[in-house]
Amino acid sequence: MALRYSNCRNVWRKALELIKELDRCTGTLPPYNSDLVSEVNNEIKHLIESNLEDARLDEENRSSGDVSLLPTIICRHSAIARNFRCLLAYHYNRLRCIRTMRWEFGGILPPDIKENLSQLELEWFSKYSNSLAQYMRSVGEEGINLTVNLKPPKSVHIEVRCLVDYGKYEMNNGTIVFLKKNTRHFLPRLECEELIRQGVFEHVVS
């Protein structure tokens, strides 16, 4: 019975590659690597099937006192477990990242980020987004927006520089400001917070 070393040697490479890919892009979300994921899936499938087969053979050999297949089975089993962990880690950490984006961008993701999500992740995102919104509505009497006030305030107004030609922007009190590229404004912090996150403003720290 030949041990299939040839395919055992590369067993962990692909799964590890997934993890490395995420690790390289800390803070951003790389495109969902469905090719590699399905390769790892196939690898797991393959390992499980060969293991089932060998387990059956082993059962037969056992009666004649032959346990030579056992080490192979154990090896494959830990390879399966390892691949599994890598897959779980890959997907879980992506979810964490998507979750952070819900807090940064609100319920609607920018299209360029949306492209990087898998279908399942998009579904998860919309569910998460809904339950978060539902929670925020149910706090207090009128609901509360938890995605603002992320940092302790130091002053009511802050100085910001406008980075894009945004056009007219109406503030909560009805005042309309005209936001032109490279202009500086002194505005209430609350109004700016979201625009800063969207990349319209840059906080000028003097």
């Binding site: 997907h91 579904e123 569910k127 809904n130 339950s131 149910s138 706090v139 006030n149 107004h157």
Partner: protein, 223 residues
């Protein structure tokens, strides 16, 4: 609305009537202090703590009233800015407190829900508010569905990964300040002799596990 009203708001905010007979007077300063302490505790404790929903709701109600008053105040008044900043600070406090709790719920979702369900069974008071509990259940549903879809690779797939749940490390060390004289804190659970006496206002570094009950009943403040 004039400034007198805002001053009045800040200085003499509230008077809660819980029941007709059971009237509790709570000054705004006390209310803010309660939330501040809850916030610090929540920030530093590894596990989720009992909710303070009534206080949060009270403070939110007050903040809404103050917002209304501020909107009506004149923009030229120098006091308005000061009040606005104060209101913003309080808003940050509440938001951060609630956010911290949500983050814990998300991270330790399985663990927390398991504990909550045990509490329901025993008829104990729940740590999560109704809204948080809803959120937690929805969150778990979403994550479970996501991973079930992903991990159904092979029919004979082991499902043992579902049992590996993320748990808070309740033995991690915390800085704590005692708010009362505490006779004895058990440091080593296996050994009854290992206790410490803690004076009021003294500060200690201790394993969270040893003081978790004291944190929950308010004798110890995490810092």
């Amino acid at each position: 609305m004039n400034n007198m009203d805002i001053d009045h708001d800040l200085n003499n905010l509230l008077e809660i009537e819980e029941d007709e007979e059971d009237e509790i007077l709570l000054s705004p300063a006390t209310l803010v202090k309660i939330i501040e302490e809850a916030w610090l505790n929540e920030k530093f404790s590894p596990e989720i703590l009992p909710n303070k929903q009534e206080y949060v709701d009270l403070l939110l109600g007050q903040l809404a009233a103050m917002d209304d008053n501020l909107e009506n105040a004149s923009d030229r008044d120098i006091k308005k800015g000061v009040h606005q900043l104060e209101v913003d600070r309080l808003k940050f406090l509440v938001c951060s407190y609630l956010r911290t709790r949500l983050e814990k719920i998300e991270t330790y979702i399985e663990h927390i829900l398991k504990q909550e369900n045990e509490r329901i069974e025993k008829g104990e008071e729940m740590y999560l508010t109704d809204a948080e509990f809803n959120f937690a259940n929805n969150f778990k549903e979403g994550v479970d569905k996501h991973f079930d879809n992903l991990m159904g690779i092979h029919p004979t797939m082991p499902i043992s990964w579902k049992n590996q749940i993320v748990q808070p490390n309740i033995n991690s060390f915390v800085f704590a300040k005692s708010k009362a004289d505490i006779e004895s804190i058990l440091i080593d659970e296996g050994n009854d002799d290992e206790t410490v006496y803690v004076n009021k206002d003294s500060q200690i570094i201790i394993s969270y596990n040893s003081v978790s009950n004291l944190v929950k009943n308010g004798d110890v403040q995490l810092i």
